[in-house]
Amino acid sequence: MDIDLSQFSQVFFEESIEGLAAMESELLKLDVDAPDPETINTIFRAAHSIKGGSATFGFMAVANYTHLLETLLDEIRDGRRRMTPDHVDMLLHSVDLLRGMIDSLMNKSEFNDPKLPQLEQRLAQALASNNAPETSQPEPAESSAAPVASDADSAIEDCWYIDFKAGFDIMRCGNDPLLMFAELEAKGEVQVSLLPPQFPAWDDFDPEGCYLHWQLKVITDAPQKSLQEVFEWVEDECEISYQRGCSTVTGEALQAADDTVDTQVGAISQAGAVSQAAVLGQSISQSTSQSVNQSQAATPIAGSSLPTATAVTPIEKAPQAQAAKQAASAKNAESSSIRVSTEKIDMLINMVGELVITQAMLGQIGQQEEINQESLLLLQQGLEQLASHTRDLQESVMQIRMLPISFAFNRFPRLVRDIGQQLGKKVELVLKGEDTELDKTVLEKIVDPMVHLVRNSLDHGLELPEARLARGKSETGTITLNAFHQGGCIVIEIVDDGAGLNTEKILMKARQKGLVGPDEELPEESIHQLIFKPGFSTADTVSDLSGRGVGMDVVKRNIHELNGTIELRSEAGKGSRFTIRLPLTLAILDGQLIRIGKHIYVVPLVSIYESLQVPSNRINKLSDGHELIRLRDEYLPVIKVFREFNHDADAKEIKDGLVMVVDNNNEKTGLLVDELLAQQQVVIKSLEDNYTRIPGISGATILGDGTVALIIDVAGLVNLAGISNSKEHAA
């Protein structure tokens, strides 16, 4: 069997990253004094798969390191070693380290973290130390089997590692795996180890089915063919892989080698021989049993992504192959693929089918010699169908890019634990709405602002346990992350039950920084908004956490770049609530079409408050040439868009045109436009990719008639016009 293994690397990286995330979240859940065996098992399995995969694909550094982890976890799992907080700490650091290693493999860069030898040593020491539970006998021989990297090349391959996952119906055909193992014994010494069986829920359990998965080590010189003969009758229905290895220590790293790739390699190598349906059926039955296990373990990430993962594999291959070809652009490798559930793909195929039918129908009408009343009606119907199918298709395609927000949420338990410990604060993190889906790009870009906000809540929001007790609160503070859909947007809330914003301190600071006049009084709400001002930080000392120069203004700007908004509500002594609203996708925008002169622009609908005609008595001209309008009790600067973009317009004066009031970082600004046209969803095309970045323009779109319309970037336009703060101008 000749397979280029590098084509599976990307899948390996992805599953490793998922595995590490699962490890991390399970470790954080772990009660060190009474560890739940299933949790330990999950952690072990993750380490085990990473080890197996890395050995298979030749990432020996990862394999050797995970071997240490696996050995430690195995001993804990078997009860040969008692878990200590130090172990948890070491394992968490290992997760970080492995992330770095995987990252550098993905980027094809050198990995030189000094922590690696340190941690390796720590792990080796831990393995060498003897802290078996009183009840069981230590087995020093086992634990000293740490790998020696240099042996890998020099060792002689003298044994076979066989990964044998029995087909579910194997017993029902009268086959007995034990007899097969006995047969193997004729060829050499055999070591059989049974992997933890993945039993389904009791109701789904079939006592006649086989749920077992073995790993065998056969010390023999026999060729693979002679081993294959043993499994000849069952090779089609079982997952079997053979790996040559040496029986000395490093060989162990290979033991599980094919474990993780089984499904992939297996699916490919067997696809020819076995009917696709059989393979698929098998994977589905596996994933059902997996999902049951996982839901018991309550791993959010695995629970949401893994049940479909096995079934998805065949679909993933195409992008994988492409990715391999584009290995040169390895930098962006991480964004090159996305896991999509088969359900979504099926929906898409269904839509395309509908579209093809509609197209055929329209084609038929087009071929008619003359168009009469009847065919016109048909044409109209067809076009309506086409419109509806296109919309559905668009939605389905968007769905593909959607990922559950748990991908972002999952990093927070660790973050909160670490920072809480560092600050000596007791914190409970509550995650809600983890299944809420949003666009992959939005998801990736919202993580940093969220991290900043959570850090902020931990650092500035939550009080120390004593202070909380003194205020009559429980010792443990709570931070809640909540996500939900609301009116075509995704809303993410970050809520803490801490002290709330200190308005006096903020006001004082703002006065020091000259953001607020010395005698100026502001309502509480406006004071809170001050924290979003550039350069504003109230931290007395710049701590390691928040307040390191990256202020809330950056958070706000990042969210604005995603066409989102952030709101803050805070009550002294009770806590703060940050509400982030984001569009579901970055690719499509709900826009208001406006006309200025001959040009049509699109303004994001979310940023528009209102549009109105302003009589001349409400227009004030400033000495610097800027103009303000009085709207109710506010003064708003008005930007003459045509002037900024340097073209002609019908309305050159404010009184002649329409003023569209838009939001710019919670400040209202007016845009002078000639006419409001339709509201419609527009597909955003990047100008930067295709042309160059233009201040005041965030992108372009193609309208129904084929013309190009530019999308206005309100914040950019405000900067362009040189209006930084309406209040300053008003003052």
Binding site: M171, R172, C173, G174, N175, D176, L179, A182, E183, E208, E232, W233, D236, E237
Partner: protein, 120 residues
């Protein structure tokens, strides 16, 4: 002593199989087609059934399918005697519940090795 049911429409084959297995210490019963074998099988519990595929009245695959429906033969090893060219038959046999196959032509050593493989 393990009981084996040998099914083949060819008498010479039945003899060869029967002789080899008896010599090796097995208790062998013979049947000349699937229908007969199905009836014989229900008179007692056999530890192994070795059946030819192409037979009149009831072929080997139908026999295997029928045997698998009987509680007594749910997990019993059922072997097919098949020809090298019969790749499709192997698949069909497996789908019917066959444990494995012995490819014709075979020598007694090969037969015994295969039988020992399933009987331990």
């Amino acid at each position: 002593m393990k009981k084996i049911l040998a099914v083949d429409d060819s008498a010479s084959m039945r003899q060869m199989v029967g002789f080899t297995l008896k010599t090796a210490g097995f208790d062998v019963t013979e049947a000349c087609n699937g229908d007969e074998a199905l009836k014989v099988a229900q008179t007692g519990q056999f530890d192994l059934v070795i059946s030819d595929v192409n037979m009149p009245v009831m072929d080997g695959i139908t026999l295997i399918r029928n045997l698998r429906t009987l509680p007594a033969y749910k997990f019993t090893p059922l072997l097919m005697l098949t020809t090298e060219s019969g790749g499709d038959k192997k698949q069909e046999g497996r789908a019917a519940g066959a444990t494995g196959w012995i490819v014709k032509p075979f020598n007694p050593e090969q037969l015994l090795a295969t039988v020992r493989k399933v009987l331990g």
